[in-house]
Symmetry: C2
Subunit: 471 residues, 2 copies
C-alpha cells in the first residue's frame, strides 16, 4: 500500500492536469446548449476506461424536451474491470454532468478553467461535484497497472450524465441491469457527497426522504383586478396563504397531526453518535452566511437536519412574483411545499396525513374556491446497516489514509440513486465523500482541495483493498 | 340640439372610420417597441385639434427607462377651445395610449384593425379605452362648426399617452398648470370608465383609494437547500406566510385591528342609492367567469366593491414561482398586498395600523429573521359632491339622450388623475362613462358598441350645453 500511496503522491500534478481537462468540458446537463458537452464528457470517460482495459457498455436512455428542444439524453456509461469470481465486486457510482455556472454569477475565475490558489484549493465547476471523485476511480486502476499490483476486487462502474437534472432515465437502467450486468455486485460505493465539516473525513449512512406537494386553489375564471373585484370574491391567494400557514410553525415544527407518529425514537446509542462529530454552530452560521438558526447546539442542529422530518414552503406558482406593484387577484395559485422524511416514515402515510389535514382545514373556510392537493414526487428516507463490512472497510481505509476514526454521518437531503441501488440490487450501499463541507457544490467558486483530491485517490485505493478482506 | 343630434347620427360612419384610423395606431405605452406609435397617436390628435382651431400646448414630461431602453415619455397634449370669460370652462381629460394586445392572446381579429360585427360591436384595442371617448370631444366641436352653432362653453383639454403605464410625468404638469393654463377651469369631466352594467348609463362620483405594501422577511445570507438546512434555520417563507395569513380572512374581512374605525358609516340615503342600480349577481358571475362570490345580493356586492375597504394578497417576490418542483429555502421573500381604502380612511392611519399590527405579530414568532414593511404607494379614496352643477348637467344630458335617469355609481378601483385634478384645481370632478361594463378594456376582444359611441358623442354635446346653464 505504501508503494501505491507514494506513486499517487508523486503523480499528483498529472491528476490535477487531468482534472483541469475535464473541468474544461462544460457538461451542464440542465442547459440544452451544453448537451453536446455532456456527451463529450461521457466520451472522454469511455476513452479513458478503454485505455485502462475497462470494458464498457453504453446505455442511451432516450429523449427529453429541454428549453423547448428535443434532445437525446446523455449516455449512462457502465464499466467492468475484473471478473474474477474469487474476488468481491464493488459497484461504484458517479456523475459526469455539472451544475450551470457563469462568470457573471460572481465567480472569481472562469468557472470552466481549473485554477489553484496558494492554499491548494482547486477552483472550477464540477471540481468536487462530481468530477474529481469520478475520475479518481480510474486513477486507482491506473496506479495498480503502472505498479503491476493486482487489484484485489472486481469493479463495476455506473457513470451518468443527468444527476444534476433529476437522473432522468437512470432508474430504469439500474433495475434492468440488476440481475444482469450488476448481478455479481457485492456492495455499492457512491462518492458524491461531502465531509460534515472541513477537517474530519466521514462515511455517510443515512439520507432523508422527500415528499413534494402542490396545493392548488382556483376560483375566478381569470385573473381579476383587485380594485374592481376585491371584497366581492373568495380570493384563492387568501385561502392558500391561510392553508400554508397551518402546515409548519415559524420554529420549524410541522403542524400536521400525526406526522411525527412514525418517526423512529432517538436511542441512547444514537445520542452518543453525535458527541464527537466534527461540527459546530459556527459551521452552520458560516454555511448559511447568517445566524438565524433555530437550535443552539450541535446535536439539536444535526438531529433536525438528519433524523427529524421538516417542512419547507418553497413558493407559489400563479401569483404575482415580480418586482414592484401589481394589483392582481390571481385566479389560480399553486403552493409548493415539501416534507423531508426520516425512518420510519412512509410516503403513503405522509401523503394521507397531509391530504386529509389540508382538506379539513379548507372545509372550515367555507370558501367557494376549488382545492387540489397533489403529491408531485415521493421517496422514502434511506439508512444503511453500518455493521456491514462495506462500512468497516471504508472506516479502516480512512484510518489508514488519515490516521483518524471517521465521523458517521447522515445527510439532510436526498440522493435518490442510493435507494435505487439498495432496492434494485439488495446490497449494502455506502456514501464515501471526498470533498469538504465548504466546497460549494452548486455555488459559485466551487472547489476541491488538492489534499482532498490526492488523499481521496488513496482513500478509494485503500477502501478497495479493505473490501477484499473485510469481515 | 335636435339639429346637432341629427347631424351626429347622419355622420356616424365617418366617426367610425376615424375611430378605425386611430385604433390602427398601436399606441401601446408599456412596450418600448411601440413608443413611436404612441408619439404618432399624439401627433394625430394635435393635427386634428389644429384643424378644428383648438390651440395646443405640448408638454414633454421627460424620459423613462423601459425594457432597458431610455425613451422620451410621450407628450401631454393640452388644448384650448374658446376663451370667452362669459362662458364656463370645462376641462376634459382622456388618454391616447392603450394596453398591449396580440392576436395570439386569443383575439378573434387583429386587435389593431377595427372590426364591426352584426350586433354593431366595434372590436379593437383602445376602441373603448380610451380612443372613442377622447376623439368624441373633437367631434362635438366639429359638429358645432359644421352647423355653425355656438358652443356655449370654453373647453380645456388634457390628453396623455402614459395612462396605461402609471401616468408618468402627468401630475407635475397638472400641478404646474393649475394656476396657469388651467386657471379658468370651472369643472372637470373624465370619460375613462364604464357603465355599471350593459343597459343603463351612469355618472360616477367615487373611487376607492389604494395603499400598496411590501412585507419583506430575510434570514439566511443566500438561498438554501431544503434538504441540508430544512429544520435548522428560521425560514423566511414560513414567517411571511404566517404574517400574510393574519391580514385578511378567507371571507374578505380585514383582520388588522382598527382598520374599519375611520370608514364612513352607511347612511339610510346611501342604502337607497343601491336599490335601482342596473346590476345583478349574474353580472358579476359573468364578469369573473365563475360563481365564487362572497355575497349573495346586489347591494352587498356593490358596497364591498365601492364603499368598504378590502385587502388583497397579490403574491410573493423572491420565492419559487415556476412550474414543477424546486427544493429551495428562499433567503429573502417579499409579500405584496394592498388595501383598497374608502372615505374617510386616511393613508397615514392605514400605514400606521398595518405596520404596528404586523410588527406585533412578528414579535410573537421569536424569529431571528429580519422584517421590513414598506408602503410602496398610497392614494386616498375620492368622492365627489354630487350636488354640484357638474353632476346635475351630466344627469340632465343622460336624460336628454337616453330618456332615463342615470345610475349614480362608484368604482372599486383607483384613477389617480381624478384626485389630482380635484386637489390641484380645487374644482368638482365628474366621471362620465361612454362604454359598457362588458367592453373588455384591458382584455382580449375589447369593443365599444356603435350605439354607445354615437350616442356618447351626443351625450358629451348635451353635457357641455347643460354645463353652460346648470345651477
Amino acid at each position: 500500500m505504501d508503494k501505491i500511496f507514494a506513486y499517487i503522491s508523486q503523480n499528483q500534478d498529472s491528476y490535477i492536469k487531468r482534472l483541469a481537462e475535464v473541468v474544461a468540458i462544460p457538461s451542464v446537463s440542465g442547459d440544452a446548449k451544453h448537451r453536446q458537452d455532456v456527451v463529450r464528457m461521457g466520451e472522454w470517460l469511455v476513452q479513458e476506461m478503454t485505455r485502462l482495459n475497462v470494458s464498457t457498455k453504453i446505455h442511451h436512455p432516450g429523449k427529453q424536451v429541454l428549453d423547448g428542444v428535443e434532445l437525446d439524453l446523455p449516455p449512462v456509461v457502465l464499466g467492468t474491470y475484473g471478473t474474477d469470481p474469487a474476488k468481491r465486486t464493488v459497484l461504484v457510482y458517479g456523475h459526469y454532468d455539472v451544475q450551470p455556472a457563469l462568470k457573471s454569477d460572481g465567480w472569481t475565475h472562469d468557472p470552466f478553467t481549473l485554477v489553484e490558489d496558494e492554499q491548494g484549493r482547486l477552483f472550477g465547476r464540477g471540481s468536487t461535484d462530481d468530477k474529481a471523485p469520478i475520475i479518481s476511480w480510474l486513477w486507482v486502476i491506473e496506479a495498480h497497472q503502472k505498479l503491476n499490483i493486482d487489484l484485489p476486487v472486481n469493479i463495476k462502474m455506473c457513470f451518468e450524465g443527468m444527476e444534476e437534472s433529476g437522473s432522468e432515465g437512470l432508474d430504469d437502467i439500474i433495475y434492468k441491469e440488476a440481475k444482469d450486468y450488476f448481478a455479481t455486485v457485492d456492495c455499492v460505493c457512491i462518492s458524491d457527497n461531502y465531509w460534515l465539516g472541513t477537517k474530519k473525513p466521514c462515511v455517510t449512512y443515512g439520507l432523508r426522504g422527500i415528499s413534494y406537494f402542490t396545493l392548488e386553489i382556483s376560483g375566478p375564471g381569470r385573473d381579476l383586478h383587485s380594485g374592481v373585484f376585491g371584497g366581492t370574491v373568495h380570493e384563492p391567494m387568501t385561502d392558500l396563504v391561510y392553508l400554508m400557514s397551518k402546515l409548519v410553525s415559524p420554529n420549524g415544527k410541522i403542524l400536521i397531526p400525526g406526522i411525527y407518529d412514525e418517526v423512529a425514537p432517538v436511542t441512547d446509542d444514537e445520542h452518543k453518535l453525535y458527541t464527537d462529530l466534527d461540527f459546530s454552530v459556527k459551521d452552520i452560521h458560516q454555511a448559511i452566511d447568517a445566524t438565524n438558526t433555530i437550535h443552539e447546539n450541535k446535536q439539536d442542529i444535526l438531529m433536525h437536519r438528519w433524523r427529524f422530518p421538516t417542512l419547507s414552503l418553497h413558493g407559489i406558482e400563479g401569483a404575482f412574483y415580480g418586482a414592484g406593484a401589481k394589483t392582481v387577484i390571481p385566479a389560480k395559485v399553486i403552493g409548493k411545499f415539501s416534507i423531508r422524511s426520516v425512518p420510519n416514515q412512509k410516503p403513503e402515510t405522509i401523503k394521507a396525513l397531509v391530504t386529509s389535514f389540508i382538506q379539513q382545514e379548507f372545509a372550515k373556510l367555507n370558501s367557494k374556491n376549488k382545492i387540489t392537493i397533489t403529491e408531485l414526487s415521493a421517496g422514502p428516507a434511506w439508512v444503511a446497516d453500518v455493521k456491514h463490512y462495506n462500512f468497516r472497510a471504508a472506516s479502516k481505509a480512512i484510518e489508514t489514509v488519515f490516521g483518524i476514526t471517521p465521523d458517521y454521518t447522515r445527510e439532510g437531503g436526498s440522493i435518490p440513486v442510493t435507494l435505487t441501488f439498495q432496492e434494485a440490487l439488495g446490497k449494502n450501499v455506502l456514501l464515501l465523500p471526498m470533498g469538504r463541507a465548504d466546497d460549494g457544490a452548486h455555488s459559485i467558486n466551487e472547489k476541491i482541495d488538492r489534499s482532498n483530491y490526492i488523499e481521496g485517490i488513496k482513500l478509494l485505493t485503500s477502501y478497495l483493498h479493505e473490501i477484499s478482506h473485510a469481515q
